[in-house]
């Protein structure tokens, strides 16, 4: 019998719009306030106009834009698929003469249109503003299109993810939770795995792996970079998201076609997914538990306890959700399955553990080695001289030294988080001839490992290390157009050096001072000066600090006649006010000798309860007004006596 009714069901669309249209309207209004209206208001106010963003449209209240684009599509999807999560509604809809594929596409298209309209309308308004008013100076058509494109991309991806989870679950509340689990899962899982690897394998460089790409694994974190001043989306990642979106669309479609309506109101509709959910939750809870106990105790016994407790808790939560009851002990066998497979994994870990932990590449395979406290220097800032990468050790002897230290570090006990002596966090990355990298990181105590200590100081005292860890050695002097020198925190004076020869002399002096520095010797000087080397490129600058022990730098400044202006002499100080820690007693010091003694011992801040806050009043120059501290024992005797009273 030929059907009189059309395959596009007006009434389904109408019903969806009645249910979810309000959200689209609110979305439109929110975006309207954030973009066009805010832009008009800022533009019409000359003072605000100065601070207006140029170009990037994501920078108007970026947090809210980001929050909206990861919540509105999800709420929309939840509203549109609500009918799947209530038995009566589901029965009603599915007894209608409409195919599931048709229902799916009706709702999906309505969802997309409801997202499209508010975004598109705002883009049109922005284009209008751009074309017909002076606001056009602040952004161009391409900015609007890139905003439009990226917003639609992110919104529709989130909608597709919501449709997918909507098919997976039969519960309204789980729909929300599962959607965010799904979009955060890839990044979260990788992060948890890396964190736990670092517990199980001594030397596993968590930061090295965690830094690299994790934020790309979740649209929620990846698209966050849109809302920063330099959005740089990679086409590869975007294509992967597009592919993931298509997969989600197809998977949701397939799941719907095979959905069993009697499972409406079950947490997970498809029986084959229930073990995935059960063991997935158990596994994640286990990793969180282990990492938590590692972080608070550092004892491996506690870590094991954390694994067991975490996995049990995870299992109970998963079972309670799946069965919608807390009476879950009947399924203890599933937990045993988990425990046994976990034991197998741990045994396997133990088999490879030794191999991993003791691996030090042999010298003939090593091209170069990075040694430092964090591995962030690899991406050399632009103002570094092209072609030079002295951040790595290549010299045979240096490499050998690092290998020796590495060997010691393997043996050294992992330093406790609460350890109070001198600690070192060391990052070692070998780059091998075959192009591979071996990265390790360790945290150890120097006081407890004398051999390690001497090696550490030997490396830190070597010129190679100093070159590698002080970017000043990478500076191309002709890129520097000026140097700003600031006095320490007592006196507010600064000087700008722009004579190229003086700049060169200063850079050379800083280098020499660094070369002369002994890592073992604690600087006696408490007050430091700071230097900003300003470069033409990207308004970048290189920051360094020095103190009175840096003789060469001081000499250059003295020769240039700048030092006296920067240095605070005790004669400069007319009066010092001391205030006790509780801030209820103030003593004034005016005696030059006492002032001198206080000046020599003052620190930036002390946590000691018997310390005093120090405020300086200057004869010459302006005080920064900043408060410093001094410990009781460093106070002149006469003041101590005065305070006793």
């Amino acid at each position: 019998m030929p059907s009189k009714t059309s395959s596009i069901k007006k009434q389904i669309i109408l019903h969806d719009v009645r249910q979810a249209g309000w959200l689209s309207v609110l979305y439109f209004l929110a975006l309207l306030l954030i973009l066009p209206i805010q832009i008009i208001i800022q533009y019409s106010n000359p003072q605000a106009q100065e601070y207006m963003e140029k170009g990037n449209l994501f920078l108007y209240i970026p947090e809210v834009q980001w929050l909206l684009s990861i919540t509105v599509p999800v709420l929309l999807g939840i509203l549109l698929l609500r009918y799947l999560h209530k038995k009566q509604v589901s029965d009603f809809i599915h007894s209608m003469p409409v195919k599931r594929s048709s229902l799916y596409h009706h709702h999906l298209v309505v969802g997309m249109v409801l997202l499209f309209i508010p975004i598109m309308l705002n883009a049109l308004i922005l284009l209008g503003l751009q074309a017909f008013s002076g606001i056009g100076d602040y952004f161009n058509i391409m900015h609007v299109f890139s905003w439009l494109g990226i917003m639609l991309f992110l919104n529709i991806f989130m909608l597709l993810a919501t449709f997918f989870t909507g098919m997976v679950t039969g519960m309204f509340s789980m729909h929300f939770v599962l959607t965010y689990i799904l979009v955060l899962l890839p990044a979260g899982l990788v992060l948890l795995l890396i964190a736990n690897m670092s517990i199980l394998f001594v030397g596993y460089p968590m930061e090295y792996y965690a830094d690299m790409a994790i934020f790309k694994f979740s649209p929620i974190s990846y698209f966050l970079i849109n809302f920063t001043p330099d959005p740089e989306l990679s086409w590869i990642v975007m294509s992967l998201y597009a592919a993931a979106g298509i997969l989600l669309y197809l998977a949701a479609f397939w799941l719907y076609a095979n959905r069993r309506m009697e499972a409406t109101s079950q947490a997970i509709v498809y029986p084959f997914m229930r073990p995935v959910f059960r063991y997935g939750v158990t596994f994640c809870f286990m990793m969180v538990g282990g990492y938590y106990f590692h972080a608070i105790s550092s004892s491996f016994a506690w870590v094991i306890f954390g694994y067991v407790a975490g996995s049990l808790l995870g299992f109970i939560v998963a079972e309670a959700i799946l069965n919608k009851t807390w009476r879950i002990y009947s399924n203890y066998k599933s937990y045993l399955v988990f425990a046994v497979s976990l034991a197998v994994v741990l045994i396997a870990v133990n088999l490879v553990k030794e191999n991993y932990e003791n691996k030090i590449p042999s010298p003939e395979n090593i091209v170069k080695v990075y040694f430092g406290d964090s591995y962030t220097y690899t991406e050399a800032p632009e103002y570094l001289e092209a072609g030079i990468k002295p951040l790595f050790f290549t010299d045979k002897q240096d490499v050998e030294l690092v290998r020796d230290l590495h060997e010691q570090a393997i043996e050294a006990p992992r330093a406790d988080n609460y350890y109070e002596g001198e600690l070192r966090s060391t990052f070692i990355v070998y780059e091998l001839k075959n192009g591979k990298k071996v990265a390790r990181s360790y945290t150890y105590s120097l006081d407890d490992n004398p051999e390690l200590k001497s090696l550490q100081y030997e490396i830190e005292g070597s010129n190679a290390y100093k070159y590698a860890n002080n970017a000043v050695f990478n500076i191309a002097p002709n890129e520097i157009y000026a140097v700003d020198v600031q006095s320490n925190d007592i006196k507010q004076s600064s000087a700008r050096i722009s004579d190229p020869e003086l700049i060169n002399a200063l850079i050379e002096a800083i280098k020499k001072d660094i070369e002369l520095e002994d890592p073992q010797a604690d600087s006696e000087e408490l007050l430091t000066y700071s230097l900003d080397l300003l470069t033409n490129k990207d308004q970048g600058y290189y920051y360094a600090s020095f103190d009175d022990s840096d003789k060469n730098t001081i000499q250059v400044l003295q020769d240039a006649g700048l030092y006296d202006d920067l240095k605070v002499y005790s004669e400069d100080i007319s009066r010092i006010d001391l205030e006790n820690f509780e801030r209820n007693n103030t003593v004034t010091v005016e005696d030059p000798e006492e002032i001198k003694q206080i000046l020599n011992h003052v620190t930036y801040y002390s946590e000691e309860e018997d310390s005093y806050f120090v405020t300086f009043n200057l004869n010459r120059g302006r005080s920064t007004g900043e408060e410093m501290s001094i410990e009781y024992e460093d106070l002149p005797e006469s003041i101590k006596n005065q305070l006793e009273e």
Partner: protein, 298 residues
Amino acid sequence: MIKAVEISKRFDRKQVLDQVGFQVRKGTIYGLLGSNGAGKTTIMRILAGILKHDKGCVLVDGKTVFENVALKQRIIFMPDILYFLPQYTVKQMGQYYADMYANWDQQRYDQLISQFKLENKKVSTFSKGMQRQVAFCLALAAKPDYLIMDEPLDGLDAVVRQRIKGLLINDVAEREMTVLISSHNLREMENLCDDVGIVHKGKMILERNLDDMKTEVQKVQFALRKGQDVSFLEELNILHQEKRGSIHLLIVKSDHQELEEILAAQNPVVLDMLPLSLEEIFIYEMGGAGYAIENILD
């Protein structure tokens, strides 16, 4: 025609339907009876194309219902707990159905709505019984060839109940509509259904044509003279037998005419052929089987 052959269905681990089979002839009314949890609703949801059965086959007009749009156009399922789209008025519900069902008859809908004196208000503001009436109006105006109703007469007053039964019978007679109706109440089905099937714990334990049944089983009381030989009773297929004083009460599986002749031949003092209710037939026929048939006889 609706034909179900050995359909089985599990919910998780629980076997809810176990090889259920039955047939509903075109233009007849079939009553599905059974106690709570017997599986009636499940059978109907399968027939409505909501659920998929595990084994067996369900054919309506020789075709499967699941995802068959052309066929579902001709089937209306009225669930036991009614659902109306939220905030929809009587008129809007009609528009929704009109978009879904090709045979929708708007004139008939308006006519039925006014016949039941229903105002055009939000359906959710109606009482339970009034909502039931709206559901009937929607179902009948869609002019389905198959009408599947799960406990449709619950919560209706006697007048409305009678009127609805009349409408159903009318459509069955005029358009050869086929009706499947479920109930706990045998008495209610008695003067409505052509056939009944009794489901118990997921199995179809009995299927009967009601007209046949009434002609097949007879109730009779008679009294014989003192000392008269009763051996002739052994020839009869007796379902139930009672004796009060000299009066014998029999329920016999037999033709009316034939039984009366046999008894008359004994020259009884009293001989009365009594009317027999469906309820009694079921009780006596099933009594031996040990099933809790009383459950379906409120």
